[in-house]
Every structure is written in structure tokens, then in C-alpha cells.
């Protein structure tokens, strides 16, 4: 049976206890019910989660800002408190200049506007729900936006290099007590970190911590290390909330068609851009 050994005897004991004493509570529960522990004795992370905040607009403290003029107040950026520990992203000088350029061209250059996959950690705090499916070999995270998803390999003895660079990278997970720790690398350097042009390169390595704070709250931490862009590793921290709405699910958000005018409008028979 492919039970990972990282938790040692306590994991196995917990697992067998569940099997023997409370099979109904494992196999027979409805999907929406809260369980303190998963089948394997680890915290129960599976379910639909969402970040509530303005990190998707700007990871740092920010005042309200105008959005796309055509959208009136609908497109405006609401004010928000930052999620960066220490309140500063330690850009190298030339990288800060790039960030500034990104900000200026964000209406058209932001990969999110083009319906490109959001990358890590941005996928976590997009303003949409995502679902964790907690299995014995893989933990899947499925984000509705741009059909992005991650396979977190829980069954590899040690991290394997990514076969190719990609938007969502390659993720390896392990449990440290009650915390799911995920190391992600192998990114293509195309993704941004928010709608304000914060960014990283293909050298990015992310270490994420998913820390339960009760059945319906996870504290999420991501440490970003990228020596080509930043002078030191830095960390963002925010809570993730379980979506308790009846029948909550991640709906496909196939956004391609909403990006096509931005991307191909100039190639229409009647150009729109």
C-alpha cells in the first residue's frame, strides 16, 4: 500500500484507527462536511478554497487606482493592504525598472489579461476559488482560470527536475507535521505576480506552506527566491478560506475567447485594435 513514511508510525496508526473505528466517517461522508483529518491522518485540505483580499491587484500596500477607462468604476483597483512580509519586495535596481515598465503597460501586457496561465504563487490568490484534491500519490490543485492546474507529487523520494520549463512549474510536496510544504520550480519566467507588474524570472523557486488554522482556514505562505530579480528571498502571507456555499465547486473559466480581441483584434477583417 503506497502510504508515505514521512509521518512514521503515528501516520499508520492514525490511518488504521480510522479504518477500524470510523469507516463511515471516511467513506460515507458528504463532500461538504468538515473533517479534521484526511484518510491518512494528515490535515484535511481537500475542498474548495479562495483568497479574499486584493493581493491579485497588488502584493504591496496600494491606494485606489483608476482602471481601464472604458469600464468606469468597474475596472478600478480597490485600495488594499499588502501581503508581503516586511512590506517590501527586494528588487535589484534593474528589475525594479522592469517592474515599473510592467506597471505602465499592465492593461495590455499582463498575462492574466491575455488569459495565460497564472503561474505560482499567483494562481493561489486570483479572485476565484480553487479546489484541492488530496490523494495518496498526488495532491491536485485545480484552478478554474485558464484551465490551470498543478500536480503536487507526494510520491517522489526527492524532487525531480522539471522535464520542461512551464507556466505552472513542477511541484513536490511533503508534510511537516500539520503543514503541507510544496516546493515549486521549473518556471518559464513569463508569469507575473499580480496586476501591478510585480514579476519573477525563470530562475524562480517557490516554497509554499499550507498551514491549517481550523477546519475552514489555511494560512498560506510563499517564499520566493530568484537571484536574478531579487536581492534576497521574500515571503507573502495570507489566509485562504474554505468556500462554504452549498454545492461550491470550481467552475471552468475558459477565458481564451475574452482575450482574443486583445491578442488578435488587429488581425480581424474589420480591425478593432
Amino acid at each position: 500500500m503506497p502510504i508515505r513514511l514521512s509521518g512514521g508510525a503515528t501516520v499508520l496508526a492514525g490511518y488504521f484507527l480510522l479504518l477500524q473505528l470510523a469507516p463511515a466517517s471516511v467513506a460515507g461522508q458528504s463532500a461538504g462536511a468538515n473533517r479534521a483529518q484526511s484518510w491518512e491522518g494528515h490535515p484535511h485540505l481537500d475542498g474548495v478554497w479562495q483568497a479574499i483580499g486584493t493581493a491579485h491587484w497588488d502584493l504591496l500596500d496600494h491606494p485606489a487606482r483608476p482602471g481601464h477607462p472604458g469600464l468606469g468604476a468597474l475596472g478600478a483597483m480597490p485600495p488594499g493592504q499588502g501581503v508581503v512580509v516586511g512590506g517590501e519586495i527586494p528588487y535589484k535596481p534593474e528589475a525594479l525598472e522592469q517592474k515599473r515598465k510592467n506597471f505602465e503597460s499592465r492593461m495590455t501586457a499582463d498575462p492574466e489579461a491575455k488569459c495565460y496561465m497564472p503561474g505560482v504563487p499567483r494562481a493561489t490568490y486570483l479572485p476565484y476559488p480553487f479546489q484541492i484534491i488530496q490523494g495518496d500519490q498526488k495532491i491536485m490543485i485545480v484552478y478554474g482560470f485558464a484551465e490551470a492546474s498543478r500536480t503536487i507529487h507526494m510520491d517522489k523520494a526527492k524532487p525531480e527536475p522539471a522535464p520542461i520549463d512551464s507556466w505552472m512549474g513542477r511541484s513536490h510536496g511533503r508534510w511537516e507535521k500539520d503543514t503541507l510544504v510544496v516546493e515549486a520550480a521549473g518556471f518559464n519566467g513569463e508569469a507575473w505576480l499580480d496586476r501591478s507588474g510585480n514579476y519573477a524570472s525563470a530562475a524562480l523557486r517557490v516554497v509554499e506552506h499550507y498551514m491549517p488554522r481550523g477546519p475552514d482556514v489555511l494560512m498560506y505562505e510563499a517564499t520566493l527566491e530568484d537571484p536574478t530579480v531579487f536581492t534576497r528571498p521574500w515571503t507573502i502571507r495570507m489566509p485562504l478560506y474554505r468556500r462554504l456555499d452549498e454545492g461550491a465547486r470550481v467552475l471552468e473559466f475558459k477565458c481564451v475567447e475574452f482575450s482574443e480581441d486583445l491578442l488578435y483584434g488587429h488581425l480581424r477583417k474589420k480591425p478593432t485594435r
Binding site: M1, P2, I3, Y15, P23, V26, A27, Q29, S30, A31, S38, W39, E40, D46, K114, C115, Y116, M117, Q131, I132, I133, Q134, G135, D136, Q137, K138, I139, M140, V142, A146, E147, S149, T151, P163, I164, S166, W167, M168, E190, E246, G247, R249, V250, L251, E252, K254, V256, E257, S259, E260, L263, Y264, L267, R268, K269, K270
Partner: protein, 589 residues
Amino acid sequence: MTTRAGVFAFAAALASVAGGADLARAADGELRQVYITASSPLEGVKWYVQHMKCEAIADRRDTARCGEVELVFLVQPTRGSTQGTGVNHISFSFPDLTAKMKELEKVGVQGSGVRLQRFPDGSMIRDVPNLFKLGFIFDPWGTRIELVEDADTLGFHHVHLSAPNPTATLAWYRDRFGGKPARLKGQLDGLLFGKVWLLTSPQSEGVPASTEGRAIDHLAFVVKSMDQAATDLRRQRVTFLVEPEVPKGGRTPAKRAFIAGPDRVKLAVVETGFAGVESRLASAAVAAAREPYAVPRTPWGEPNLQGVWTGNSAQGIPLERPTSLGDVKALTPEEAEARRERGTLGSIWGYEREWRDTTLGYVKTAPSTQVAMVVDPPNGRIPPLTEEGRRRLEAARRQAAGDEQGVGPIRLPEGPEDLSPYVRCITRGLPGMMIPTVYNNGLQIAQGPGFVTIQKEMIHETRVIPTRPRQHVGPGLTLWLGDPQGRWEGDTLVIETTNFNGRAPFLGSSGGLKLTERYTRISPTALEYRFTVDDPAVWTKHWTGMFTFDRDDDQYELVEYACHEGNYGMSNILSGARAREKAPGTGAK
């Protein structure tokens, strides 16, 4: 071609090695077989018969005879072209190279997979002074072939090695197997085995990669007595990879051994009369039918379907039974091979079989012998369309015609909306996204308690299927891939999906489609997939298709198919359409 200059100094060096080394006597061997990795032995033989004037051999479906040399086609996972290994290419000689090249150029990659390797100036032929005219092509499986115009030796001409130290390599072969040191046209040092030349050029950079699993997997030397040859070779400290034996499936009682050649070239030593090995790829589905199988459980007690699967063996099964096949129950393995090869030939992927087989693992399992996917109705034909269905199918076909210029009437897309959701990288819809295509057929299934995720590599789409009851979304919420509800029926995962938006039609299917899928593991390596299409607005009766996915956990990993992110095709199609509108006289609207 950059390597010719280096060979003139060989003769003297070879002589000195020969004179200086007091080696045991050479085994009396003749270079007589070349083993080529191909996705289909039948197609391999056919290709060399058609283009290189080789002959098929009765009772040896995997072998073509080319003069003194036999080409034997091995079906195995391939690791790519001959280039970069110690066996760079083989060579055939034709009396009129210019005519031959013209003929092959006409055949082209779409005809039967002839790939020309042009010189940097675009030409196909070089006339090397004092040598002969020559040019290079590839067979469909990545074997590099030099074509020469050498009237002295027509037909199979030579095997060309690549070595960091060509002199030492030639000496190795001469000392172990004999062969007559000679100079081809007084220019190139080599060894002659009968009429077959063994030549060597300096490796251009690095060290050669192992030939094992490459387009030329190994060469074979034929010896009269295996016992004597083995004794001679052992005295020369040759490493035996496989001891002399009559191999399993050997067609004759002749023995074979494998030894390590220089420059990581794998060599076989075979006894006179060796006629290859009878072997076929295993078919997961056929093996499954023979033995009962208990589907494993996840730790939380649900049937375990997890792993990476591919649709490669099912690729090419037509949806409907071709009328030409009458009521035959299954194709023969030969017919199935031919169907799979034809399926990727004549399309733009035709010349990429080498790529297909290296990256996609097509050759790991036998191609399916299934006649058609439709299993209900039993006649294998989709039930008649309704009036509405006919309209919808016609509209879907018109849209597809806009995708591929040259298929159907030219209709220039005015914008992205005129192209299909597949070309736009939105979705292939359901059940379309489950059906194998030529490439990126990966399917990853992962489970957690109460949920199954089904991820398809093509386009990259992930479905999250609840296996415990939950309320369907309301009628106002429609989706490209619908709203799924799963359940376990014994060992089978059953998924019913409704709430389609009807914009990614499968043969004209509508938003009213109710799709029922059934996933059943029928063996450790086979996952049977059935889909029932129930769409009364389009078809007068529901119908069911079936095929099998193969497990490929060991090697296959889904890559991130960032389809929309890299959709250069979209820009190219649209800018091409705009250019065409401006060009006078194209007749396009």
C-alpha cells in the same frame, strides 16, 4: 560532409596499429545485418523495398534483404535518430543519383515519409572530387541514409561509423572480425566485408551516444562457428553483454550473442543461418481479456484508477465501422499496424514519426485491432441524424473547413470566432477531448476521497468529478465541458455530464447532450473507456463508443501543453487571411 577531410591520414596509422599489436586472431565475421528500430516492421520492409530496391523475405515479416545485407526492423521504444551515435548512417548506391533524388523529392514526406537532408545552400547533391556524387535522406524512423552514385558497388554500399578516434575504431573491427583493409576510390580508409564497406569518420563533437534504442540499434556480424568466434573474441577481451544462446523466438537453431563494440556501439554476433526472432508487441487489451483482474483500491477504499495513461494504441481507430470491412470482428495485427502508420502519414505529422515514437512512446504497445469505436449500435454506425442534427453537423463542418485551408472550400476567417474551439485552444469539447489524437495523448487520473481528477494533456484541461451525489448546477449555468456527476458502479467509474453550452460540438452535438462515460480498469495496464452519447435533438437514438487507454506510468509525464499561450497558429491563420484578401485574383471573399 565536414568529416571527409580527416580521413586521409588513416592508412598509415592503421598499418602501424596492425603491425604493432600482437593480438589474438580475429573471429571470421561478415558484416551482414543492420537492426533498425521502427514502429512497424511491415512498413519498414515496405519502405526499403519501395525506395532502396531491397527485397522482402518470405516468412520473415521484419526483414528486408538489400544485396548482401539484411535490414531487420525491431519494434521497441526508440530514442531517436542515428545521428550522434557511433553508427551515423548507412548508404545505398544508385547508378543515377540525380534521377533518384528527383524521384525521392517527388515522393516527399507526405508520400511515404522520405525526408531529404539538404546541404546549407539548399542543394541535395554534392559531387565530391575523385569520390562520387552523394546526398543524404532519412527514413521515417530516423535512420540517416547516404545515397551515392558509385557504379562499382550498387545497392547496399556501406555502414558509416562515427568515432572520436576513427583509426583505432577501424582497427578494432579489423582485429576482432577480419574484413579487408582497403581504400574506397583510393580516398577513404575502410574495411571491406565482401562488397560491404565499413567506413569511419571523426565524431564532430563530444563522444558518441549509445546506439541502444536508437534508429540503428545494433549491427550484426555473421560467423560460421559461434563457439570458435566466442573463443577468439574472449581472448581479445571483448565484453559479452549477452552470452551466446539460441534466443527465445529464434526462427532457426542458430545462436546469437551481444557484445560491446567501440564507441558505445552495440553489436550482435550471430551464427550462419540466424534468421531473426519472431516477436510481437504485447497488446494490453488482449492480455486483459485472458485473465481475471482485481482492481486495486485506494487507501480510502475506492477503485484505484490513478496513473498516467495514453491513448496511443487506440489512435487511428475510426469512430464508425468502414463499410469496406463488412462485419469482420477485428483487424489482423498487420492491418492494425498499417492503419496506425497510415494514420500519421500524409498528414503534416507524416515525417515526424521519429519524433512521434521518441517522445510519445507509440511503439510500446501494439496498435489496437478494434475495427471501429462505435460498439452500439452493433453495426458500428452512428444512428441517423435528425433534421436539426444535420444542420448542426453541417455548421460544425463549415467551421472546421475554416481551420485548414485547402480542406473544403476556402473561407477566410474574419476573426477568431470563425475558427473552431480546438484551433482557438479553448477545448476539444466532450467526448472529443477524450478521443486520442496523433500527439500529446497523455491522460492523468488522480483521486482523493470523493473526487476523481481527469487531466488531458492536449490543450491541457482538467475535469474534477465528484463521486458522491451533489446538486447539478441550474439550467442557467452552461459550460464547455458541462457539469459532471460521478458514481462508482462496482469497479467502474460512471460519469454523467449535462449543462453543456453546445459550442464545442462533437459531430454536431447540442447543449442538450447527456454524456455517460464509463471507466473500467480491465488489467494492470488497460483502462477501458466507454462513452454514450444521448442527444435527442441531434440523433434519433443514443449510441456508444469504446476504446482502451494504456498505462504508461514509468516514462510518460504529462507536459504542460500551453496551447493558447503559444498559439502562433492563430496569428498566422488570421494574418494569412488578411494577406490573401489583399492579394488580387485569389477568388477569396
